[in-house]
């Protein structure tokens, strides 16, 4: 989740969060999940799984917003997310240059 300014109700903002699970050896490396994750949480591995395909690696687990998109776009039933406790935004979520006054 990125904000272009510090939200006024920062203390109340809660960002949904998910725990990504990958069934590595069921993946056929199509890349759909990597391409369409809105948060760019995933990246293709350089390693191979047992079938000889590259599979997704989780590179930014913190940013997963539990939107389930990877889960429903995967043609192999190889990735899913488990809902986790929502988190509060941290400074990394605010775009650089953003300020209190929404410049």
């Amino acid at each position: 989740m990125t904000y272009w300014r510090v939200p006024l109700d920062l203390d109340q903002v809660e960002i949904p969060h998910g725990n990504i699970q990958i069934i590595v050896n069921q993946c056929k490396g199509c890349g759909f999940c990597v391409e369409y994750c809105p948060q760019n949480v995933l990246a293709m591995s350089t390693d191979f799984n047992r079938k000889g395909y590259h599979y997704p690696n989780i590179i930014k687990q913190d940013l997963c917003v539990n939107c389930n998109l990877c889960e429903i776009i995967c043609p192999e039933f190889a990735i899913f997310v488990i809902e986790d406790k929502p988190r509060h935004p941290n400074p990394g979520d605010i775009l650089k240059g953003g300020g209190n006054h929404g410049s």
Binding site: V24, N25, Q26, K28, G29, N49, I72, F77, F80
Partner: protein
């Protein structure tokens, strides 16, 4: 360390999960039949996922839903679902499903099959089930060719597209499936691509809850045959193509939404209307003619 063909050594880092992870959709799947047959980057698996999410949202009981498929890559869908499902002969999914729906009106009967299966060899069944407004949901996976048998041209292959039986490109006029479905009598008609998973899942829920003949066409990448023969890249490249070229136009006139080779694809919900189903019409009609002498069939009864 393993020696590779090029002589370099590379550590084969094959991860082994400690425990078997259970996918939340596993309860709808015959996982004992996995891995499924679909090629890497084929879109059929994604459509199956959308079907399961649409089915979950519909609130229908798993025991009250049956899925029927014909033959083809798409036709494998029924066999992977942990529902009452049947894999019929080529083109005969709709007649089998019609029998199921009429014999047991309590069931919601869904047909998931390919373009070749449903509108080539099975085309006659398609138009007549729509005409009679049989209570069926038809999900047609359109990958623009007969994929399973080697990429031959079929009734939906766009003009100019290369196929194994059209090496210089296809020159036949293809069907415009939403128009065919609407003019044959369907009460619900939509078209999506395998990229529009959420909208597709929503359409599937609506279609499942709609009495009568509902039809959803899903444009789907066939990476191994259609995409390869036409040098369109992988299934992911076709997903990107859908992203850039699909135009959402709910309520569009179905006469104007033909698909041309690698051109814009109009998607959306085009038709959603009410009309008595075959069984509703029959019961009302015969009650009008026969009065109390008419005994409507109530489905299988306990003996």
């Amino acid at each position: 360390m393993n020696k590779t063909a090029t002589g370099f050594t590379k550590k084969l880092d094959i991860p082994t999960p400690k425990e078997k992870l259970r996918h939340p959709m596993d309860r709808y799947l015959r996982t004992e039949r996995f891995p499924h047959i679909w090629c890497a980057t084929c879109g059929i698996g994604t459509i199956l996922t959308a079907f399961i999410s649409g089915l979950e949202k519909s609130g229908l009981e798993q025991e009250k839903v049956a899925v029927v498929s014909g033959i083809g890559c798409s036709g494998r869908a029924a066999g992977y679902l942990r529902l009452d499902s049947f894999h019929t002969t080529h083109g005969r999914a709709i007649p089998f499903a019609t029998g199921l729906a009429l014999g047991n009106p309590e069931l919601k009967v869904v047909v998931i099959s390919g373009d070749g299966d449903l509108v080539a060899i099975g085309g006659n069944h398609f138009i007549h089930a729509a005409r009679r407004n049989i209570d069926l949901t038809i999900i047609c996976i359109n990958n623009f060719n007969y994929a399973m048998t080697g990429g031959q041209a079929g009734p939906t292959t766009p003009i100019e597209a290369n196929a194994s039986t059209a090496p210089y490109g296809c020159y036949e006029f293809p069907f415009n499936l939403p128009y065919l479905a609407e003019s044959s009598g369907a009460v619900y008609v939509a078209r999506w691509t395998s990229l529009h998973i959420r909208r597709l899942a929503k359409s599937i829920t609506e279609a499942l809850l709609k009495p009568g003949f509902s039809f959803i066409e899903v444009i789907c990448p066939c990476s191994t045959l259609y995409a390869r023969r036409n040098r369109l890249g992988t299934g992911l490249d076709l997903m990107r193509f859908y992203h850039d070229n699909a135009l959402i136009k709910h309520g569009a006139d179905t006469r104007e939404i033909d698909i041309h080779y690698q051109d814009r694809i109009v998607v959306g919900k085009f038709i959603d209307k009410d009309k008595p189903t075959f069984l509703q019409k029959r019961d009302k009609f015969l009650r009008g003619k026969l009065g109390d002498k008419f005994v409507p069939y109530k489905g299988p009864q306990p003996i």
